[in-house]
Assembly symmetry: C2
Homo-oligomer: 333 residues x 2
């Protein structure tokens, strides 16, 4: 049995979903992989809880859900006011998990690698802007830097491209990578106008309070950028063309529907050419609900389709935890 010390950044919905999987499937990880995860530190925006002997995840979830912040947990645990960079230096851990939205996280991801820690992340901007630097650092140090959950939640498109299909040269990827825009466009197919569709998405917790990241195609653009980095070569979000769905009208959506097509926010990823824009699609790209899909064209295999959840808490935790297991198995080797 190997004990793997985990340092968790982010304890919102996704962070707690990860904690729940670690709690509920503790025996599964022990029996299947011979690994026991010990979460030694959890940070939210209020502070960092740190206990080298391991934090009681059940209590941590209770505190966060009842008081809204980890810093309320002062009767039993020390709460530190570290910056992420400080936390990465101070806390002894094998794997750092980042499920925050911290846009400048790449700096402390690099620090984590330099401290000899593996990194698992669902946070997109570090990769969409600094892929080459981060992956270069990880490779030089022989450390896992894993990011399955950044694209298509736990649906393993990153693993598929990064660790499989190794003999193929990818020609093109067409993909629907943002579930919020799929929801809005689906509602527009039913005659609901754009503004009201967004409000519905917000009420259901599908869209954020500020929905611009989804609606303007930025989220899909980050993901398309990451796919390009993995399938072709490093690139940054600044180099790609992004058009969101803000200008799509109910009329256009219905006209497409009358031709048996649907408008979806489609990412097209080719060598040195990435674009995100609304397109009329039919067949496998015409996904619904929280499904994401990627159609990968390559020289030997031809067309490969992978389709699965692209959003959701358990579904995102699936990708984060799979990477955590993968990192742990590699660190053992």
């Amino acid at each position: 049995m190997r004990e793997v010390k985990v340092q968790l950044f982010g304890f919102g919905n996704v962070g707690r979903a990860v904690a729940r999987v670690l709690l509920e499937k503790e025996r599964f990880f022990r029996e299947k992989y011979g690994v026991k995860f010990k979460v030694v530190s959890i940070a939210d925006t209020s502070g960092t809880v740190w206990l080298p002997e391991g934090i009681d995840l059940r209590e941590a979830i209770l505190v966060k859900e009842n008081f809204g912040k980890l810093s309320s947990w002062t009767n039993e645990y020390e709460v530190y006011s570290f910056s992420p960079a400080e936390a990465v230096k101070e806390v002894e851990a094998d794997v750092v998990i980042d499920v925050t939205n911290d846009r400048s996280a790449y700096e402390w991801h690099l620090s984590a690698l330099r401290e000899g820690k593996a990194v698992v992340t669902s946070n997109k901007p570090p990769l969409a802007f600094h892929y080459e630097e981060i992956i270069g650092e990880a490779e030089r140090r022989g450390l896992p830097y894993l990011f399955e959950a950044t694209v298509m939640a736990g649906t393993p498109v990153i693993g598929l491209l990064r660790e499989n299909l190794l003999g193929d040269s990818v020609k093109r990827i067409k993909a629907v990578l943002n579930a919020t825009t799929t929801f809005i466009l689906s509602r527009m197919e039913q005659g609901v106008d754009f503004e009201r569709a967004i409000e519905e998405a917000q009420k259901l917790g599908i869209a954020e309070r500020d929905p611009s990241g989804d609606v303007l195609g930025i989220d899909a653009g980050y993901k398309a950028t990451i796919l390009h980095c993995v399938a072709f070569k490093p690139i940054t979000f600044d180099e790609i063309a992004v058009k969101g769905i803000a200008e799509v009208t109910v009329d256009e959506v219905k006209r497409a529907l009358s031709k048996g097509k649907r408008i979806r926010l489609v990412a097209t990823v080719e060598d040195e050419n990435v674009r995100v824009a609304p397109e009329e699609v039919s067949g496998p790209l015409a996904v619904s609900s929280n499904e994401n899909v990627a159609l990968i064209e390559s020289d030997l295999l031809g067309e490969l389709l992978i389709k699965g959840a692209g959003a959701g808490l358990k579904e995102t935790a699936s990708g984060v935890v799979s990477d955590l297991v993968k990192a742990s198995l590699r660190l053992v080797e």
Copy 2:
């Protein structure tokens, strides 16, 4: 640059397709992975060509295609009459590739591992009957034993289950894993009777001269057995229920079609319960041509679909070569 010595068993259509990929993409492997493959030995049923300095693959393909057997190649190369077990012992190599149909290959696969060689195979019976023993041996020795091409050709369902989705518990897999039966059933949908559909498949090179392995569900059964071993636990082909398509009538196929459904040979893989049988399906399982598909249900991710080529020469070579790269990268570590 690392040189990886390869010993190839099988030089029929698939073996030559693998050789062609190694030839045509030599620069790709060198530039992308820093690996140069040197094929030091090729065996077909006529004999084993062995040249420690590396065999000229272009010439090997020419000889085989013009004379039908490698043993004709006596003017330049030594041809040995090794058994596979002897060849595995005599020839110095890093990776053994088996693209034969040798049903007793598991013995020399084990020998290869005991000689410290990695194994890459598209040959199903060794895994369908001896998974536990083979994988146990590979794990004890820390050697790659890779078999992507045994199921769904190069479509990476094995990599997906074996190296991704590590946090999920699989509940069920529904899959169409045999392209020949899909072809026959598709022709029956067009009114062609069973016997004639088989003849057509044979003429097109889709079915073998003895089509019973496909038609009786044995090929799909081997593959379903392998999926169970990977997703759940080791099992053998003898423990599963297999029913082929020999009793399916044109009437039944047409009746399904009139309900918007298709009959396909479907594998259902659940924990300790594997069955292969013709079923009426619609949606993603209603594949056509040489597509295979697997629908994977798991606790965290929900439903995951992977669809792609399940047969074909380049498509099978895709899986074999991806595994060869993977094995080479792991041996470097």
